[in-house]
Structures are given as structure tokens and as C-alpha cells.
């Protein structure tokens, strides 16, 4: 595969294809991942090319999917599991939290759990209930899991490669509303470390930190702010566990201000952890408290209200203004 412009969903598809090709132990599992290619077509064509033994349509039972993936990992396989939508990961939560996350430690390191759990997440696609949630905090709080989320096709390709190669369980959150956004993917490039944040855009007045679907919003915010003469630095965190606090710290020590943006509810969300830790690390540099923009403490609303619920250009700009007003 040569360097090519492709959609984020396609980049993950290509990355999975590369992984299946490179290692016979890699498996794809999930509901409708076979002939259908998944409801978002992320696994399109893989069963056709790699067979039903490696690209496996499972019974409709998420605990069963993750539980058997654990067993397959113990047998030496490297399963990449698809959860069809964010809101349907909870039946598997017990297996993820009490088994997948803890088994390596339980065995004093003697066994490894190279399982990737892919979860299309977030809103903005006008879907019905349970199809637009952002539950990443519920995984980041749990030791033993790594949690990542790419914001663009190139990262999606590379981060999936790295997730599959990781000997730890990785919860791989895919920003579903960006599935169709295109970017150049170069499979020959040498990627940076999986959990390293990326400075998307340099700036001097304030730092915007985001991951997954909100990176694009933050870029738009930075553009809009620039027109008003404000210089915003935009960080793509890429990883929610661990979080690359060093990169955030360096940025905040330069700008003195930080706004964290995510779709998940603010209460007990990623923004809380980032605010707490960065305030501790940058106490004398901060000219304003770290502000958070995210979902409200309410169930994800029906589609016709999601624009009000989700952080968008205006709400982030509002937070930027409030921060700069300190």
C-alpha cells in the first residue's frame, strides 16, 4: 500500500488488513464483522480475504465476545474485538474490568493479554439512544487498560498498528463521526510512540487539549480565534490512559491557560483529571483555572438536541474567552 489519501474508517480497515497479513495469530471478532463488514464497514472485505476462521461473526453477547477473546489471547492469539457501538460495551464491562485488565498482574506477569477492543464512539451522527456516548473515563480509571483515540486517518492507521502490537489490552475508541474524514496515510512512515500527544498547531495565548472527534473542533476554534487575534495552541492527546501530561505541561507553561474539550460528560471526565494534574504541575504558571468543555450531566440526549449537548465551536470559544478574561 503506497501513501494515499483515505477516510478514517478505511485507514483502520487497511491497518487491520496489514495486521492480519503480518501475523496469523491476529483475529477479528464481533457482531456483523464478517459479510457485512461491520455497521460502519470498518472490517469490509476482511472475512472474504482472510476467512471465517480469522474474521469471526460472533453471537450477540458482548461479555461472551470479550471473555472468549481473553481465552483466545491465553492460547496465543491476538484478538481485535469490535463492540458495535459505545453504548453496548457495558455487558462486557465485567470481563474488561475484572479479567482483561487484571489478569496480567494476577499472573505476576506470566501471561499477557494482547486484546484490542475497538469501540466506535461519540455523537454527531443523529443516532438513536446508546449510539452516541463517550465512555472513555470509565475505562481510563481502570488500571491495566490502555485507552486511546485517534483523531484522523493517519493516526488511526498507525495507532491501530501499535495497538495490535501492544502486549497490553487496548481500548481503541474510534471517533465515528470522523469515519468519513480523509487524510493522507503513509504506511511506510515511522510512527511516534502510541501514547504521545501531538502539537497540532502552535500558539501562545492558550492551550486547547482534546482527542478523537474534538480535535477537529479545536482546530476550527483556533482558526476562528486567530481571526480575533488570539493565538491558540492545539494538542491532540491521542491517549487517555496514559495521558501525555509532559506535553500538556510544556504547552501550559508557555501559554498559561488551558481548556480541555471532550464529548463525554464533564463530571468525572477526562477534563477533571487533566485539570487536577496540570494545576498541580503548573500551579505558578496558570493565569486562569483550567476550564472544561464537555457533555452535561444528563443522558446523551435525543438527536435533535445533540448540537446543544455537544461541545461545538461557540461553546469552546466561550470557554476560551472566559479563560482569557482572567
Amino acid at each position: 500500500m503506497a501513501a494515499e489519501k483515505m477516510a478514517l474508517a478505511k485507514a483502520i480497515n487497511e491497518s487491520l488488513r496489514t495486521a492480519l497479513d503480518a501475523d496469523p495469530k491476529v483475529l477479528i471478532m464481533g457482531e456483523d464483522v464478517g459479510k457485512l463488514g461491520g455497521v460502519f464497514r470498518v472490517t469490509d472485505g476482511l472475512q472474504k480475504d482472510f476467512g471465517e476462521d480469522r474474521v469471526i461473526d460472533t453471537p450477540l453477547a458482548e461479555s461472551g465476545i470479550v471473555g472468549t477473546a481473553i481465552g483466545l489471547a491465553l492460547r496465543g492469539y491476538r484478538p481485535v474485538v469490535e463492540i458495535q457501538f459505545d453504548g453496548f460495551v457495558f455487558p462486557a464491562y465485567d470481563q474488561i474490568v475484572t479479567q482483561l485488565a487484571k489478569m496480567h498482574a494476577r499472573a505476576l506477569g506470566k501471561i499477557k493479554l494482547p486484546v484490542v477492543i475497538r469501540i466506535p464512539y461519540g455523537g454527531g451522527i443523529g443516532a438513536v439512544e446508546h449510539h452516541s456516548e463517550s465512555p472513555e473515563a470509565l475505562f481510563a480509571h481502570v488500571a491495566g487498560l490502555k485507552v486511546v483515540s485517534p483523531s484522523n486517518a493517519s493516526d488511526a492507521y498507525w495507532m491501530m498498528q501499535q495497538a495490535v502490537h501492544s502486549d497490553d489490552p487496548v481500548i481503541f475508541f474510534e471517533p465515528k463521526r470522523r469515519y468519513w474524514d480523509k487524510a493522507e496515510v503513509d504506511p511506510e512512515a515511522i510512527p511516534g510512540p502510541l501514547h504521545k500527544a501531538r502539537v497540532v498547531r502552535e500558539g501562545s495565548d492558550l492551550t486547547l487539549a482534546a482527542y478523537g472527534p474534538m480535535v477537529k473542533v479545536c482546530q476550527e476554534v483556533a482558526n476562528a480565534a486567530q481571526e480575533e487575534g488570539k493565538s491558540l495552541e492545539v494538542l491532540d492527546l491521542r491517549s487517555v490512559s496514559p495521558i501525555d501530561f509532559d506535553t500538556v505541561q510544556a504547552s501550559v507553561q508557555k501559554t498559561g491557560r488551558l481548556v480541555v474539550v471532550h464529548e463525554a460528560p464533564v463530571f468525572f471526565g477526562s477534563g477533571a483529571e487533566i485539570a487536577a494534574r496540570i494545576t498541580e504541575r503548573c500551579f505558578y504558571h496558570l493565569e486562569a483555572p483550567v476550564l472544561r468543555v464537555g457533555g452535561y450531566h444528563a443522558p446523551y440526549p435525543p438527536a435533535r438536541l445533540e448540537d446543544e449537548y455537544l461541545p461545538g465551536l461557540d461553546r469552546v470559544l466561550d470557554a476560551v474567552d472566559r479563560s482569557l478574561a482572567y
Binding site: 464478517g34 443523529g126 439512544e129 452535561y296 438527536a303 461557540d314
Partner: protein
Amino acid sequence: MTVESTAARKPRRSAGTKRTSAKKPPSPSTELVQLLTPEGKRVKHAEYDPYVADITPEELRGLYRDMVLTRRFDAEATSLQRQGELGLWASLLGQEAAQIGSGRALRDDDYVFPTYREHGVAWCRGVDPTNLLGMFRGVNNGGWDPNSNNFHLYTIVIGSQTLHATGYAMGVAKDGADSAVIAYFGDGASSQGDVAESFTFSAVYNAPVVFFCQNNQWAISEPTEKQTRVPLYQRAQGYGFPGVRVDGNDVLACLAVTKWALERARRGEGPTLVEAFTYRMGAHTTSDDPSRYRHDDERLSWEAKDPIQRLRSYLASETDTNEGFFGELEAESEALGRRVREVVRAMPDPDHFAIFENVYADGHALVDEERAQFAAYQASFVTEGEGE
């Protein structure tokens, strides 16, 4: 010492040898309860005939009408989705008999726990069909009061509602009431742990609940063989209650078998599993493209078993139903379609503050705080003219 060596050893099979694959479910023909053949001929059934013995032609026409109007409503919703009025629609096309048969077996004081596809059952319960559309339009997540028709909200997380139904039925038993509860779920759902747990709880507490599985043979793109290697109705046995497979495209059989199961529940005999063997004639939802995973001939073969056509044949040949009935129904159908269209198009978007409503029954300080912040934020956009 190990004793392991005492039994004769089978030679090891070389790596790569295939194991025999899971068996296909046997053909259901012998075990299927059917009262009306696909051609619309009435067949006798010693066990279930009594449950529909005194059904009148009038009542049969009622069932027919229910199915026709449900299908019409469903088609209208599909077309409203195409027009952009709904974000999504889950069609019940092909499952009308399973839903109307079981739905009409219920008494008013029975309680229904549906999935997201029980539009026909909702119809039987008297739920205004336009109420079902709110969640598919994206204006709410369930727009009706469950208690006004004893019809719970649609549940999207697969299988969850079977436990709610079981708990509700445990409450019915505690109250000493003789009503019953019915839980709908699909063939795919049968794999969920929650469904198995609902079997266990209902059996142990002898709860008056009927598990009504519409085996429409597909869970999105997965055929039933991906969920089970034996017919699903057999699942019940291992939990200690009866299971029966009924022709899900035969409204009379569905009515009879569900009545039987409900009466078992009322008599204190506990849960029953009814597997209605039917077929999802359309796509999983309007977002789905079945051409990727199934052949058209399969669907065509099921068209010959159409639930509406078979009752129509029966009505036409075995009862005094005249053409006028069909003509009037056609008109009623069109009127329903029109009304649905109009109501949906006029459905207002919810107020923005609805985000903060009903998160809690007793309130929550953070919700109040966020609502106030949201109000202030919204107010900051007041246009200049308005501002002064």
C-alpha cells in the same frame, strides 16, 4: 501416577484437520405449531385449537385489519425515513402475524416489554403509532407513558428488557394479581446473558411471564446458526419450563399459543418460552443493506408465506368477508398513512432545556448548576437589538 493413560487413546489428529462444524438447526416443520397453512387452509391442532375455538369472522377480520394497518404504518415510517423526517426506522415487515397474534392474546391488565421493533404489539395495546416515531425522529428516547397502555418503552440494549419483564412479573405474583407479563426479544438476543438470567429468575420465582422470541432468522447480518445450533424454543427446557415453536407468520397460531402461555402464567404455572418462527422481510433498519449478506431468493421464498396474504385467503374462502371490507380497509390504511405523515412532519423539536429535564426525579445540584450555566450561555447570544 496419572490415571489418564488407562483409557484407550484416540490417535492425535494432525494439526490443521478441521473439526466437524456445528450442526444446522433441524428443519422446524414437525415441531412447528400451525393453524393456518401458507395457502390459508385451516389445519387442526388438538392442543391449541381450543384457544381459538370460538373466534368469530368479525374477530378474524379484526386481526386482518390490525396486520394491514400495522404494515401500512410501518411502510409509511420507512418512507418518512427516506424523506429525512426520521433518522432511522426498524421495520417489522413480515412479522405482523407474530406481533398481532401475540398482542391480541393479551388482556388490558397484562404488561408488555418490547424491543424496538414491536410496532404491531404497540398497536394492539392502543399506543398511538405516531408516539413510536419520536425516538426514531430524534425528538425523545421514548415518547409514551408506559403505564397508560401497559406497554413499556422500547429497549435498545439487546436483552435487557427480559429481566425487567421478569421483575415486573415477580411483582405481579407478589401482588397476588392474575395478570401476566410478556417480554419480546429476537433470535440474536437469545445469546445475551441477561436473557439466560431472566430464564433462571423467572423459573426460580415461578414468575408469570411469557418470553416471546421472534426468530426472524437474522440478527442484522447474522443468521440464527451464529446464535444456536438447536431450535431456540428448546432453550426453555433446561431451565425447567416449556418452550414451543409456533409458525410466526400464522396469526391464528400465534394468538392461540400465546393465550395458552398467558393462561399458564395466570394459573401460577410460571414462565413459558414461545418461539415465533418468522422472517425479517426487509432490512434490519433503514441503515442496513441486506444485499451484502443474504440472497434475494430467501426473501422471495418467504413472500409465499406472507402473514397477511394467508389470512386474506382464509377470509375470502372460508368466511363471509366481502370485497367491501377490503376496500374500506384500504381507505382506512391510506388515512392512517396520511395522519402519520402529517403528525410526524409537524412534530416539533424539543426545547433545548429538555436536556436537563428528568435526569432525576428528585433533582440534583449539578444538573441545576449546569442548567443555569447553559441558560446564561444561551442568553449571551441574545442579538444586539434584543440585548438593550
